[in-house]
């Protein structure tokens, strides 16, 4: 009982708090891109853009790795290795995001800047999206740290889904003379297909909502970045950064509305994901 109440409660409360902003900017809020506390003129587009792009890149990077990990985790044999990897992933999940943040800020971002962003833009700079990096903190480094952070969710859920694939399926395939790869690629993964997709979307949900680590490395610039190597902003991080300073009535309301948008998106994504995961896991049992 508590869960649904809470869920709805959160939405309602935030909605009321955001009401002033909503009534003032209406739908335009989502599509305009200027963010000016002085003129009290607010548009969410840059943040939405930042959020979506960072998450997208993160997913793109994390999914293959996540599935690979899941396969290793569900492989019989190599019990020792399996245990090690399993614990490793669990630890990866346990580390607080703020720790990822500080690490990304002082280690990851500089590394990426010097060894990835600069060379890449040097060679492919003519492509707008890859044009010259200005600062170490960038949308790209935020995406990478996000990828690391959602990896556990991804591989853990994928593992559960793949585990739920009946043992007999794998055995039958092997008994037909299929190789390990053929078995996993043609039988096991297809059987887990929608579940793995669900895992992906679930991870997406996490990525969208992730705040602190991103805030620390994305560079916090309220505009739509010309290149993935430029600073940007996400819904979550702008709230984190500005809410405490926000004064007056509209400014906080606007921030809360950002929160509302964020949470609504996250919820929808989650619902979709969960339904998918649940279908496979329960279906196959």
């Amino acid at each position: 009982m508590t869960a649904p109440t809470l869920l709805i409660g959160i939405v309602i409360v935030l909605y009321q708090e955001a009401a002033p902003a909503i009534s003032r900017f209406g739908g335009g809020f989502l599509v305009t891109s200027n963010w000016n506390p002085v003129t009290l003129d607010f548009g969410a587009l840059p943040f939405i853009y930042g959020t979506v792009v960072t998450s997208a890149i993160a997913i793109a990077v994390a999914v293959p790795v996540g599935i690979a990990v899941a396969l290793v985790l569900t492989e019989q044999g190599a019990a020792g290795l399996r245990g090690a990897v399993g614990t490793g992933i669990e630890l990866l999940a346990a580390i607080p995001s703020v720790v990822y943040g500080i690490w990304a800020l002082y280690v990851l971002a500089p590394f990426l800047f010097n060894h990835v962003e600069v060379p890449l833009s040097g060679r492919f700079g003519f492509i707008g999206a890859l044009s010259g990096p200005s600062r170490q903190t960038s949308l790209f480094s935020a995406s990478v740290v996000l990828a690391v952070m959602i990896l556990p969710t991804l591989s853990a859920v994928s593992r559960d889904v793949i585990r739920a694939v009946p043992k007999g399926l794998r055995e039958s395939s092997v008994a037909l003379g299929a190789t390990w790869w053929e078995t996993n690629w043609k039988v096991v993964l297809p059987a887990a297909r929608s579940g793995i997709f669900g895992a992906t979307v679930l991870a997406l949900g996490r990525a969208l909502g992730e705040t602190i680590a991103v805030t620390m490395v994305i560079g916090n610039r309220p505009e739509i970045p010309p290149s993935i190597f430029s600073p940007a902003y996400t819904l979550a991080s702008v709230i984190a950064n500005e809410f405490t300073e926000a004064t007056g009535q509209i400014y906080p309301a606007a921030l809360v509305e950002l929160g509302l948008v964020l949470i609504l998106v996250a919820f929808t994504v989650n619902v979709i994901a969960l339904l998918l995961v649940r279908r496979t896991v329960s279906g196959s049992m």
């Binding site: 649904p4 959160i10 346990a94 703020v98 990822y100 690490w103 990896l151 996250a266 919820f267």
Partner: protein, 286 residues
């Protein structure tokens, strides 16, 4: 012909295998790096005893510490647990044992969605609910925010643990003519206890590591304070704020706090995993 093809298949197989293991290895690199750097950069600050005894000091004055943050984290997580765990456990058990069919699956969905709720939004929620009316930040409101984050985790892990108990156990209990609540309380709960404890611990670990929800609820406090009605500091806050300052001393302090935080969280985690393993083994025997 067949022979040739089979050779080719074996070859493909080897490639695929190595690729998969390679990627897995790659996945573990960040872990090593994060832990490594946290330890290396954190130790200088964290080895000093006063780091755990003193509170923050103005930049330049040596002997600064994070005692107040540790205390703050402890208090807020503690209160949060007191709120979230009982409620969570009860609704978790209820979910399996009573709530039936469609309704249950909705509750479950809601809980899952809450698990994935952006923590920053939860922070906002708590702010609006408790901070705004009182017009000042407080450890209590931080605790409430954390409680909201913990609740779904507790519910789901509890439910998971209870669900691990085979339905036949419950049925056998009922078939003996025992009332439902006794079966739930004296048969199912005990059997599921380890799993539930695990859930609680995991939830606490997660809460202890959260920053966003307490940014503008607990807010932070540079001095020693045990009064939950006042603003409170917490380890994550220290890391977050100090890391972004230009002062090396504070940055070092941030790393130190990070190390403590990581150590804390990992200890809770590993121990709880261990409990969980036992639970699963037990369930296997049922």
């Amino acid at each position: 012909m067949i022979r040739a093809r089979n050779h080719w298949r074996g070859y493909k197989n080897t490639i695929a295998l190595s690729a998969v293991y390679g990627l897995t290895g790659l996945a573990l690199v960040p872990l090593a790096l994060v832990l490594g750097y946290t330890i290396v950069k954190g130790l200088p600050a964290a080895i000093h005893p006063e780091f755990y005894l003193n509170v923050e000091r103005p930049v330049g004055i040596p002997g600064a510490g994070v005692a107040h943050a540790i205390a703050g984290s402890g208090i807020m997580v503690g209160i949060a647990s007191l709120l979230a765990i009982p409620v969570g456990v009860v609704s978790g058990v209820h979910l399996v044992d009573y709530a039936s069919g469609r309704w249950a699956s909705w509750v479950r969905l809601a809980a899952d969605v809450l698990v994935g709720a952006p923590s920053i939004a939860v922070g906002l929620f708590a702010y609006v609910l408790f901070v705004a009316p009182q017009h000042h930040f407080s450890g209590l409101s931080g605790a409430l925010a954390l409680a909201v984050l913990m609740l779904p985790v507790v519910i789901r892990t509890t439910e998971g643990a209870v669900a691990l108990i085979p339905a036949s156990l419950r049925e056998s209990g009922l078939a003996l003519g025992l009332p439902r609540w006794r079966v739930a309380l004296q048969l199912v709960l005990p059997a599921a206890a380890p799993g539930i404890i695990t859930g609680a611990l995991l939830a606490m670990a997660r809460a202890a590591g959260e920053t966003a929800p307490i940014l503008f609820t607990g807010f932070g406090n540079r001095s020693w304070n045990l009064d939950p009605t006042q603003p409170m500091s917490a380890l994550p806050l220290i890391v977050f704020h100090d890391a972004l300052t230009p002062y090396p001393a504070l940055q070092q302090q941030a790393w130190g706090a990070a190390l403590v935080l990581v150590a804390l969280v990992l200890v809770i985690n590993l121990s709880s995993r261990w409990v969980l393993r036992r639970q699963i083994r037990m369930a296997g025997q049922l």
